[in-house]
């Protein structure tokens, strides 16, 4: 299990994701500034920071939902460029969970899960359904598999979305504020699923403000502000002994209430 410190994270043997000198603009707005980040296999990284700091944009660049203007992103050695083949290749290896779930409302939960395996991985239907049922069972909503997303609670929808991503057997899972749109009662059930996933050794990059969860699960904390990485540290050091003033201010503000 990786216990990456900022020093060792800069030189891992064969990082699964390697981001170098990444710069991105939305029109004239410089949203990501010179990001350098490498993530090893089986590592769990939690990214936090104030809204507008670029954390969502950063992970959306990793599966090319956003393109970048400068620098490079390598996923398992494959560079992300305009090359559609590479994008397809990378997306097969990366599962993503969104703040708003983004389940397909016209398909049942089971169909949501089998769509990718059938159409992208060309898996036989029956095999895809067996995989989907196994994973729906793992996130404990197998009994909801024939329902449509609109009939599920927020927590159930997010767990279905996690199962959908897992069905593609990804090597990396990206979580973009997975609990921010949930009622407080449902946050725990989603975090439990994510903790379980972390314990199984999945590589995870999580944008989240759930600091208790982060302290428990993360190998590494990253704090971003103004489009750049301000602090990168072990959870222990990050929460108990933050170095930058900006981090201290942020932590004091979100931990106070």
């Amino acid at each position: 299990m990786s216990t990456a410190t900022p020093e060792s994270a800069n030189a891992p043997a064969a990082p699964l994701i390697q981001i170098s000198n990444l710069n991105k603009w939305f029109g004239a707005f410089h949203v990501l500034r010179d990001i350098n980040l490498s993530i090893a296999s089986q590592e769990r990284v939690v990214i936090c920071g104030p809204s507008g700091s670029g954390k969502s944009t950063l992970i959306r660049c990793i599966n090319r939902l956003e393109d970048h203007q400068e620098g490079s992103i390598l996923v398992d050695g494959t560079p992300l460029t305009r090359n559609l083949k590479n994008i397809d290749l990378v997306r097969r290896d990366i599962g993503m969970v969104f703040q708003q779930f983004n389940l397909f409302p016209h398909l049942t939960v089971l169909e949501n899960c089998t769509l990718g395996p059938i159409w992208v991985r060309h898996m036989p239907r029956q095999e895809a359904e067996e995989t989907a049922e196994r994973l729906l069972d793992r996130v404990q909503i197998l009994d909801q598999s024939t329902k449509y997303p609109g009939q599920l609670s927020g927590g159930q929808q997010q767990r279905a979305a996690i199962a959908r991503a897992l069905c593609m057997e990804p090597r990396v899972m990206l979580f973009d504020e997975p609990t921010s749109a949930l009622d407080p009662e449902m946050i725990k059930e989603v975090l439990d699923v994510m903790t379980d996933l972390a314990e199984s050794g999945m590589t995870m990059i999580i944008v989240s403000h759930e600091m208790g969860f982060a302290a428990q699960v993360a190998d590494r904390m990253i704090f971003m502000d103004d489009g750049q990485i301000v602090e990168e540290n072990t959870p222990d050091a990050f929460f108990n002994n933050p170095q930058s003033d900006r981090t201290k201010l942020f932590l004091s503000q979100i931990l106070r209430h």
């Binding site: 997306r91 097969r92 990366i94 969104f98 983004n102 397909f104 159409w119 449509y148 609109g150 959908r164």
Partner: protein, 366 residues
């Protein structure tokens, strides 16, 4: 301080009599306020004024037999022409000994339509294939060739002509419209520009103008040895015209789909066409059903414009009848009324189907 124990929770009670049953329905729908009650009464009075005279004119006092307008008294409606002319109203000048071909085509249309429109029919797999093959089969039956006597398309007429142009237009305008709508949203500037130009150009011109272009002008640009069938030109123009409207209807649906849906599909690894076909279009088209059917209905009624190129559709034959020396002056209302009724039946069916489809889809999902 107040609290309720589990055992003290209030039980459910039936709704008051004024909210349910016949009385409830009347109250809610017809007499919910003084204004509505007044409107209900006025409407009732209007119906009493209009319906009985209309029925006695159209049925009770009407004349149903006779060889010419002279047979009609003038008090009631004159339906005597139906006997002689009904065939022309439906088949136009299509040769009488080949009317069976039109009949078979019409008969086969029923299963071909049902298998497309209704889910879970027995033999659906074969049925779908039949639906796909049907257009070719219909063209073969109506035009002939390969053993069947060839009947030139200028013999097509009456309501059969409306159906041929209308149905072909409907079947083709939806896919073309969808492609145009996608093109209009394309990231590729060339495709986007072409789509926008086409849609705006076609929408900005009356259909009659397009038909004139198709019939008169097009030949000027084509090499003289190329001669496109006139009916084919009309069908192409009607289709393109409806496609432009369809594109805008579908675009409305496309824009209602949240961006997250596309991102969700991309994150799962689906490509552009898969995303459109599996995720975006099923949802967008569902939202667009009212607009799509509206366009279909408009297109179907526009088929009456074939009269300007000298083809006589249902309405054309109504006019022929009105100006026929035997009937002139006696059937002015009746011929139009009959044509209107035929169009109404088809358009009303389309409208009801759209409503039931919307209901069925919304029941499925929520």
């Amino acid at each position: 301080m107040f609290f309720r124990d589990q055992s003290e929770m209030l039980p459910e009670r039936p709704a008051p009599i004024t909210e349910v049953g016949v009385i409830g329905w009347l109250r809610i729908n017809l007499f919910s306020s003084y204004g509505n009650a007044a409107l209900t009464l006025v409407s009732l009075a209007l119906l009493v004024l209009i319906i009985p005279p209309f029925v006695s004119w159209g049925l009770i006092d009407a004349q149903f037999s006779g060889d010419s307008g002279a047979a009609c008294s003038g008090i009631g409606a004159c339906w005597a022409w139906l006997d002689q002319r009904l065939g022309q109203f439906f088949y136009g000048f299509y040769p009488a000994d080949a009317h069976w071909r039109v009949n078979v085509t019409a008969l086969l249309l029923v299963p071909a339509l049902l298998y497309v429109l209704v889910d879970n029919l027995p033999g659906a797999k074969f049925g779908r294939w039949f639906s796909y093959v049907y257009p070719l089969l219909a063209a073969y039956l109506l035009v002939g060739g390969f053993g069947l006597e060839v009947i030139s398309t200028d013999k097509f007429g009456g309501f059969m002509l409306n159906m041929v142009v209308g149905l072909t237009g409907i079947v083709l305008s939806l896919p073309v419209g969808i492609l145009l709508a996608l093109g209009r949203q394309s990231r590729l500037p060339v495709i986007r520009l072409l789509s926008i130009t086409f849609i705006e150009a076609v929408r900005g011109v009356p259909l009659i103008t397009l038909l004139f272009v198709a019939i008169v002008l097009l030949q000027l640009f084509l090499p003289p040895e190329v001669s496109l069938d006139q009916l084919l030109r009309v069908i192409i123009m009607v289709t393109l015209f409806a496609s432009a409207y369809m594109a805008e209807v579908v675009r409305g649906g496309l824009q209602a789909i949240p961006k997250g849906q596309i991102e969700g599909a991309q994150a799962v690894g689906l490509g552009y066409w898969q995303t459109m076909r599996l995720i975006v279009l099923p949802q967008a088209l569902r939202i667009s059903i009212p607009g799509i059917v509206n366009t279909f209905i408009g297109l179907f009624k526009d088929t009456t414009l074939v009269i300007i190129i000298g083809l006589f559709d249902l309405l054309g034959h109504a006019r022929l009848l009105q100006t026929n020396p035997d009937w002139i002056g006696d059937v002015d209302h009746e011929a139009y009324l009959f044509s209107a009724a035929v169009f109404f039946v088809i358009c009303f069916l389309m409208s009801r189907y759209s409503v039931s489809l919307e209901k069925q889809l919304s029941q499925d999902r929520h």
